[in-house]
Every structure is written in structure tokens, then in C-alpha cells.
Subunit: 223 residues, 4 copies
């Protein structure tokens, strides 16, 4: 391989890295050893390494050596994205998922699950403080997802709830949440519940969609 030696070595290093050859110690041999191993000058070896460094697959410490950069697990990567999501994106996803969850709940919920949803509705409407109302509001939506009997859908909803918890600002505007708006929410919940009781999936979907539209306007006005 006289041509493009550095490229060949880079490919080789990439493979050895992926194979986990250096995973146990977390470090690569020194530049000098690697150069000797491949029978090239140190400069060439360094060129071969450059790309891996730029991609963050390895990193170098002067005087210490070259280290493998443990890749963040896919879940860590996703988690990182989730922490930085905009309110608009979050609401858009809710508008996609929640109406259809309501429809699924209408056809899959047990009687007990519907009663649990009804309880969350009643507690929310009766609660005096805003904080308590919000808690029961969250519970209302959560129980609808539980009633879909789709564990994945339920997990996704828990994920969305988590984002809302970690980004307090998302619901911040609700602090200016008036008594009137609260009564509106209560009425919307009542209509969703009504549809679920009737096992009317079309109506459940529609009412949930309208409720989220109402939420959107409370949060973003006319945008």
C-alpha cells in the first residue's frame, strides 16, 4: 500500500477501534509505537489519527497518551436532545399523539380505567389551588395514556411529561392562568371524558384535539 498510506492506516485504526481492541484499557498505544507498528513516520501516523480526533472518537493528552472516547449511548444522545427542546416542538408532538391516544383509550380502556380518568377530572375541577389543579390535570392526561393499553405510547407520554418537568418554563405562562381559562379546561376535560364513557373514539379524538388547540392558544396566542 504505497499510495495514501495514511488513509489505509486510518481505516485500519477505525476498524480496530470499533472492534473494541482498546476498550478495556481505554487507551491506544503511543504514536511512536503505532508508527513503528505500521512502519511509517510519526507524521504519517498523526495524519491518519487526525480524522478520528476531529470526529471525537479518540482524544489526545500531551504527555499522557491517546484515549478512546466512550461514545454516549443512543439513549444519552436522545436525552441530550430532549433537554433542549422548544415549547413549540413539544406542543406539536402533543397535538400529534394525544388525540389519537384518546381515540385508542375510548376503545381499549377498562371500566376501572375510565373511572380513574373521571376521578382525575373531578379532583382537578374541585381543587382550589392552581398547583393542585395542574397536578390533577397532568394525572388526567396520564391516565388516558394508561388506558390505551399501549405500553410504548404510555412510555412516550412519560417522556413528554419528563421534559415538561425539566423545563419549568414550558408551563410558566400558566401561572397567569386565570380562573376563566381553568373553567374552560375543566369543560374540555368533561367533554373528553364524556366521549370516552360513550366509547366514541371519533369524538374523543376531536375533543382532545380541540383541548390542545385551546392549550396552544393559551401558551402562544395567535402564533
Amino acid at each position: 500500500m504505497p499510495k495514501r498510506v495514511a488513509v489505509e492506516i486510518e481505516r485500519s485504526l477505525r476498524e480496530r477501534l470499533a472492534s473494541g481492541e482498546w476498550a478495556s484499557t481505554g487507551r491506544l498505544p503511543t504514536e511512536r509505537r503505532l508508527a513503528a507498528h505500521y512502519g511509517v513516520a510519526r507524521n504519517t501516523l498523526r495524519k491518519a489519527i487526525e480524522g478520528l480526533v476531529r470526529e471525537g472518537k479518540i482524544f489526545r493528552h500531551v504527555g499522557r497518551g491517546i484515549f478512546v472516547n466512550r461514545e454516549p449511548s443512543p439513549i444519552e444522545q436522545i436525552f441530550h436532545v430532549l433537554r433542549d427542546v422548544s415549547p413549540a416542538d413539544l406542543l406539536a408532538v402533543r397535538q400529534i399523539v394525544e388525540p389519537q391516544a384518546a381515540a385508542l383509550a375510548a376503545s381499549h380502556a377498562s371500566r376501572a380505567q375510565i373511572e380513574a380518568i373521571a376521578e382525575a377530572h373531578r379532583m382537578g375541577c374541585e381543587s382550589g389551588e392552581i398547583a393542585l389543579f395542574e397536578q390533577w390535570d397532568a394525572e388526567f392526561h396520564q391516565r388516558i395514556f394508561a388506558a390505551t393499553r399501549n405500553e410504548l405510547l404510555f412510555a412516550i407520554h412519560r417522556l413528554l411529561s419528563l421534559i415538561r418537568q425539566q423545563n419549568a418554563w414550558i408551563d410558566l405562562k400558566r401561572e397567569s392562568f386565570g380562573e376563566e381559562q381553568r373553567r374552560n379546561y375543566c369543560r374540555s376535560h368533561a367533554r373528553i371524558l364524556e366521549a370516552l364513557r360513550r366509547r366514541d373514539d371519533v369524538a374523543a379524538e376531536r375533543e382532545m384535539r380541540l383541548h390542545l388547540e385551546e392549550t396552544r392558544q393559551a401558551l402562544f396566542g395567535r402564533h
Copy 2:
């Protein structure tokens, strides 16, 4: 109340643990240091620790020390659930999310993004091997989610893809994926792409829904 000393220390350790005092290093001081700190014998200190060990909040390695058992983050817990989700649940979620993602892509994609989707379509149809086809198939769907310009939606799709990768059996039936079915998929993709090009969100949503219905039948037959 000399006998209650251990209980007091346990309470103290519990608080310090919860406060995150040892979260950074992930380890507690040695038993000897802790005993000295509280001014008690090592035996007493060990009694105070026992409960925490039983609850799994800390664990001991002989000769190494006492370590904090970092609780799995809520997201890790959620992810744990995701690991054994049923194929039916997964498909149901896809049927909820993907058609609406296609609709969003129709209105939010840049021209370049639509061309990227077209490329994935073309490569998929042209690829000879099944493995290659599946790769471009996944890419096709992924690029549609990217074109929605909703980072959260995109992250959720990556999550679903991850589940499919880690539960290879979910798509098991696809191994019996015939040439005819592949041509059908190709045609479906073409229709979705066509709708995206026309920026027709209603058609994009419909074609994606039909495509997933086709997938459902390939996986589960007609029920």
C-alpha cells in the same frame, strides 16, 4: 438513648446521600473514617449502613470501599420499559406518529430535504440485497422525520428505531420478505415522495397511513 445512635447515624447518612454529597465521586469515605467522623465504633457504623445496603442505595466492595448506587434516571427507567415492547404496540405507535410526520414534512421540508428523501427512495429501489434495501428503507423514514423540522419528533423516531434495532425479532417476519412485497414498498414510497414534492400534506398523510397498513399486513396478516 445510646442504642439509637446507629439509627441517628443512618438518618444522617440517608440525608447526606440524598443531598448528593457523594454523587460527584460516586463513593463514600471508608468505614473507618465515617466511624471516626461520628465518633462511634466501626461496628455501630456498620449497623447504621446495613439498611442502606439492603435498600440498594449503596453497595460495598471488599477492599475497595463503599459506593453510591446511582439511581437510574427517569429516562433510563422509561428506556428499560421500551426494551420489551410488543411488536403490536410498536406498530400502533408508528401508525399514530408517521402519517402526521409525513404531513408536517410536506409543509416544513426544504427543497434539499425533499431531495434527500428522494435519494433514499431511489437507492432503496435500486439496491439488490435485502439488507441494503432495509437500510435505505429506514433512511427514507428517518429523513421524513428530519424534514418535519421538529427536533422532538425526530428524537422520538430515533427512539423507535433504536427499539427496533435492539429487538430484531420485531421485524422478524421481514426476513420472509419477498421480491413482490419489496416492489410494493417501493411503489408506496414513490407515492409518499410524490405527495411531499407536491407539498400536499393530506395526500402525504394518507399515503403514509396506507404504507403502514401494508407493513402491518406483512407482519401480522389480516387481523
Copy 3:
């Protein structure tokens, strides 16, 4: 400058490039001459150049030399972006700009300009073919911008029109534009015109906003 010689040279080259020293011929001296000029080895000189190449400020041709890469003018850059804009982004901008343009027109238009707007309205409502209707529709909006007497605002509207022309797909869905929807548009135009005639800027803004909301729903449905 014994330390980081390459960095120093890069800085120098960057300055000379920006000063236009090589703009007339469009090419730099050879690597060998540059290295001699700075009194360094060719390798070092190459390292100094690398960054400029990556940024696209210069490019190299084997056997020919190093060339200056003429930077696209800001207007070319903007134009490039405009060609790749999504329908959603375009509509959002219209929703920002047009209602306020209508309000400005209400207070700044001459009587003749309002009559010109009225003419576009009348011609649109009367026109039999869709193509003709669309032309007069565009004219209606354009004349409102002209009536704001703000040349910049008018220019921006022409820019938006240009984008729509160059991206035929943006209005493609209007081909499925029914007779009923057309009558709705006609009624909306009438209400906007009415407000302009009354010199009621608040009403003009509101009616234009409602009209664009109507357009949004025609294009994107419920997204």
C-alpha cells in the same frame, strides 16, 4: 515567532487574502515560494493553508496552483436561501407582514390606490378561470403593499412573490381549489377592502389576518 509558526503564517495569509493582495490575478504564489517567503518548510506552510482551504476561502489544483475563491456576495447568499424555503416558513412570514401592511395601507393609501385595489378585487371575483383568479388575487395583495407607500415593504412583498413563482409547488394545492373556497376568498377580500375604504386600520389588520388563516387552512389543513 518560534512557537506555532504555522498559526502565525495562517493569520498573515488570512490578512493578505482579505486585503485583496491576490484578488487581481486570483491566484496565490506556489507553496514553495510561500514557504521560502516565510522561511519555513513546505509542510509547515501547508499546515498554515489547511484552514483556509477547509473554509473554502482558497482552493488548490494539483499541478496548477492555489486560487482565491471569490466569496459569493451577501445578496447571492440570501438568494440561495430563498430558493430553498419551506411553504410553512413562507406562510408564517406572510402572516407577520401582510396584516400590518393592510393596516398601513388603511392610513397611507391614496383614493386612487384604494380604487386600484378595488379593481383587482372585482376582476378576481368575476374571473371565470382559476388561473385568472389567481393572477388578480396576487394583484390584490400586491396593490395593498403598494398602498402602504413604504418602498421597502413593497420590495419585500415582491421578494415573497418571487419565491412563490420560483417554487411552483407552494401554490400547487390551490389547483384543488374548489369553487366554494374561491367564494370564501372573494368574501374575505371584500371585507379587507371595506376596511380600507373606511380607513379602519384595526379592521384591515384583523380581516387580513383572518384571510391568511383561511389560506393556511386551505394549504396545511389543521397543522
Copy 4:
């Protein structure tokens, strides 16, 4: 019809010109080659060309050849208008666009984008020199537009910035920009940023509107 030969050739050249046959190189063949191509004398060929030269579609350089006179694109024409826009028109457009951009940013910005805006604010307030302050001021507004995630809106803002750069006199009065006014700007920026952090779109829009009103008074006094 031998006399009409020139007319025929002119028609042919016109077509070939419109077809873009010579658009890539920007130049036509030499007169001699064209004459040979059409099988006519150079005199006839020159006659055929005359009209095109008079219309400015092509132009001749003695000793160099015949060149296509690329017509300015519609966007270049629009840009030409923009070059001498009045300060009042520019400010009016900013007053239309920027408050709504701020509102959009409140709902669409990622956390990282809001931090970038905060950085521009902080750097502006801390900077000693006026020139530096103005640079960070521009950056503050630019980053808000970036945070809207609307590429068209961002491009329009870049266009407005370009106009301001090329018409330095538009902001001329700012040279008499006192320390007090600067502190006011800083406070306004702080209030806008505060609203963005709270994700309060209504407040963000209002604070931006007040800030631009403040700018208007600094430029034009109270009229």
C-alpha cells in the same frame, strides 16, 4: 429574399441567446466564426448583431470578442431598490417584523439559542467602546431572528442588516449616542431577554415593540 438574410440570422441569434446556449461561458463565438457558421460575409453578420447590441443584450470588446450581457435577476433588481430606502421606511419595517420575531423566538427557541441571545446581551452591556456595543447589539437582534427557526424570516433580517450596513447614514444619529441612551438600550434588551427566558411571547413582543419605539425616538425625535 437575400436582403432579409441578416434579419433571419438576427432571429436565430436571438433564439440561441434566449436558450442560454452561451450562458455558461458568457461569450459568443468570434464574428468570423459566426459568419462562417451562417455562410455569410462578416458585414452581414455584423448587421444581424447590431440590433442585439443596441438593446444591450450583448456587447462587444474590440480585440476580445462578443459577450452576453447577463440580465440582472429579479432579485438583483429588487436589491437595487433597497439600496436607497429611507430611514423611516426601514424603521417601519423593523417595527412590523421584529416584535413578532421576538414572539416567535419565545416559543420556538431552543435553550441553547436563548443562551446565545443572553451572551450577546451581556457582551453588549459590558463592552466599553460604542463600536463594540453596536456590534453586539446587532448580534442580539440577529440571534433572536435565528431563534425563530424560520429561515425566510432570518434571511429577511439579514437583508435589512445589509441595507443598514450599506447605508451607514441610516443610523447616523447613533454616533451622537450617549452613555445614558446606551444604558436604556441595555435595560430594554434585558427585558426582552427576560420575556424570552419565561417563554412569554406576549411580553417578548411588547418589550421589542417598546425597544424599537425607543430607537425611533433616538433617530427621529418625537414625531
